[in-house]
Amino acid sequence: MDLAYSPKYEAFREEVRAFLTKYKSQAPKGLGAAGRPSPEACSWQQLLIQHGYAARTIPKDYGGYGAKPDILESRIIAEEFSAARVPSALQNQGISMLVPTLLELGTEEQKKKWVKPTLRGEVVWCQGYSEPGSGSDLASLQTRATVDGDDFVINGQKIWTSTAHEADMIFCLVRTEPDKPKHEGISYLIFSMKTPGIEVRPLTTMTGHAEFNEVFFTDVRVPKTQIVGQRGQGWFVANATLKHERGMLGDPVAMETRFQALVDLMHEETVDGQRAIDNPIFRDRLVRLQAELAAMKFNGLRLLTSASKGEDPGLARLIVKLQSCELTHQISALAIDVMGELGVLYDDSPYLRSHGSWQWGYMFQLGLIIGGGTAQIQKNIISERGLGMPREPKLAK
């Protein structure tokens, strides 16, 4: 156990700090988690790529910085940007999911064409995976692509497509071989959202906002060359990206920020003139969450060490999505309870605290528990892959 970074890494940390001191003033206020980045955000992203603080390990030929992967360096960058409260590299589904997939399985032409503008925030992507009838059982998806001459012709519907209304492009799973077993009949296509026959409808959620969309395809023609990987191999191509998405969802730094905001809230909010922090029951819940947060934080350090050694941490990794989403939700739940009646205010109501972000979060984070592999699917994964328990027997056909 040695929690200090070696001199080599401390020197790297100093470099990052020097960069931040010098360029902090050019940083935009925020980048947003998804959607189309502002022009300021795009130039900031380019500056970050140029200095190796974004797209760090993507080869130079494809518009990245071209550094060797080093998880500790990445961690230091994240720590320092967070400490300086400066927006770090752009994060969206194109960058976190499509780019790694193309680099792993795309053709040279696809890589050359798409990776660089995606990294720079100039091309925005959305993900066409889930369908109304195919959520947890994603491989049962029914959106059909039939061959007509040099094109695929796509008909069907996708759902949970965040940023579809702003996206330039979509990476999409479609069924090309309906007669094959479900995992072997899927192809992974990339195409423009401006292609005729695509209709995007906003999907309003319980938060009252449309964080997602539905996308409808009617005779959408896509050249056969716009496939990633082989025909019928789309499931395996997609799994390369799902792996990246699950990694993305556990973020201890973000959770600590929310926790600190909760601590602040509990020092500010009063009932009967007593601060929430002085209420023994609220306080007990707060400390209980703090201990859980500490456990997840140190679990994260353990994962970091495993990754730096190229070891598979097993269970310690498999539990991250389930536990992090639940903990984040519990932090919001306590904030709501601390506010009491004020905690059900919403929209632009008088007395609303923090623009209603706790209320929105409490609802939206329930979506995170369900999305990206539901809690129940996570428990299947933990018990089957982590504990080696038997799979559900297949029903006789």
């Binding site: 156990m1 040695d2 929690l3 200090a4 970074y5 070696s6 890494y9 500790l72 961690r75 922090i277 002085d278 023994p280 306080r283 007990d284 707060l286 400390v287 209980r288 703090q290 201990a291 859980e292 500490a294 456990a295 997840m296 140190f298 679990n299 350090l301 353990r302 970091l304 060490t305 495993s306 730096s308 269970l315 310690a316 539990i319 389930l322 536990q323 129940q376 996570q378 428990k379 299947n380 933990i382 018990s383 089957e384 982590g386 504990l387 080696g388 328990m389 038997p390 799979r391 559900e392 027997p393």
Partner: protein, 361 residues
């Protein structure tokens, strides 16, 4: 940056695992549980050959000079095998009290004996956390009067370390005049606790005693109890997975039902991050003093909650058999229950954690 056990620590843990697997299987634990207040001498002698009683004691005094993380991963194994041994008081809290507060003469006299496994040292600090039943001792001139409950490693102790109500620590010999002793039988038959009643009992003060020294002894004890629960909980999960893989109902192993699988997943999801918390809390006792007390509180309270969940859930996965004495699963259930209350239950400990951060008046 390395957040992991070292190779030496893995070897140490493996050697303790093998030792307990061979020498303290469940049938031996059952026998020992019939004699809670008798020290398992041959088992303790075996542990002494591995250096366990002296693991925290400096080499100058015949110990191994290891750290709290080493002690925690050893006690994790004790929890795993519900080992009926006097580790917590004798090998951790008493030596630490002597090292922090004892005079050189006291250290020279007692530490080598502890390190050699020759003596058992009981520790009485419960009243520093919370007073029940009007317990508490007052120190006079070289004497103690009052009573203390839940003395750790009470049975057959050759000396007791006793905290008075003003953060003074004292050495008391079991044969001292005016000292009466009563065993306290708990649900956990693998560890001995008892009561000491003092009527003008002659006691030798540890001259460098302080509130901080008492608190550090308690911090270390708490981290060890968390580690014990970690090991016991891990074993309960493994037993659940194994049982669910064998037991058949409705023509299938019950482990193929999601209702059962998900219980196992929930246990693992709760316990696995706790492991890192225990590691860090133990590491902090040695290396990060500014974090040590808060993390000891977090480890103790969090493992208490996770432990309770795992103990009851694992019992449920075992169905009716889990409830019987036949499988012996209850030894782990009770061990975890004991760990939760000793040295402060989670609500008391979280209140302390709040105080430490200025969150409570």
């Amino acid at each position: 940056m390395e957040f992991a056990l070292s190779e030496e620590q893995c070897l140490l843990q493996d050697s303790v695992r093998r030792f307990l697997e061979q020498n303290s299987p469940l049938d031996k634990v059952r026998l020992a549980a019939g004699n809670t207040h008798t020290v398992q001498r041959s088992l303790w002698a075996g542990a002494s050959e591995l250096g366990i009683p002296g693991m925290l004691i400096p080499e100058d005094f015949g110990g191994m000079g290891l750290g709290f993380l080493d002690a925690a991963i050893v006690y994790e194994m004790f929890g795993r095998y519900v080992a009926p041994l006097p580790f917590l008081g004798t090998a951790v809290m008493a030596p630490l009290a002597l090292m922090l507060a004892g005079s050189e003469a006291q250290q020279e006299k007692w530490l080598p004996k502890i390190a050699a496994g020759e003596i058992i040292a009981g520790v009485a600090v419960t009243e520093s956390i919370g007073v029940r039943e009007d317990a508490g001792v007052k120190a006079g001139k070289g004497t103690l009067t009052g009573k203390v409950l839940f003395v750790i490693d009470w049975a057959e102790a050759d000396l007791y370390i006793v905290a008075d109500s003003d953060h003074g620590l004292h050495l008391v010999l079991p044969g001292a005049k005016g000292l009466s002793r009563r065993a306290l039988d708990t649900i956990d038959k693998t560890r001995s606790v008892g009561e000491l009643v003092f009527d003008q009992v002659s006691a030798e003060p540890l001259p460098r005693s302080s509130a901080d020294a008492v608190a550090r002894v308690i911090d270390a004890g708490r981290v060890m109890l968390a580690a014990d629960t970690l090991g016991a909980g891990q074993m309960m999960i493994e037993k659940s997975v194994a049982y669910a893989g064998e037991r058949k109902q409705f023509g299938r192993v019950i482990g193929s039902f999601q209702a059962v699988k998900h219980l196992c997943a929930e246990m693992a999801a709760a316990l696995e991050p706790s492991r890192s918390l225990v590691w860090y809390a133990a590491h902090a006792l040695d290396e990060v003093p500014g974090d040590a007390r808060l993390m000891a509180c977090h480890a103790k309270s969090h493992l208490s909650e996770v432990g309770r969940f795992v103990a009851r859930t694992a019992t449920e996965v075992h169905g009716g058999m889990g409830f019987t004495d036949l499988l012996g699963l209850h030894y782990w259930f009770k061990r975890i229950g004991f760990d939760r209350q000793l040295l402060g239950g989670p609500e008391l400990v979280r209140l302390e954690a709040a105080h430490l951060q200025g969150w409570a008046a």
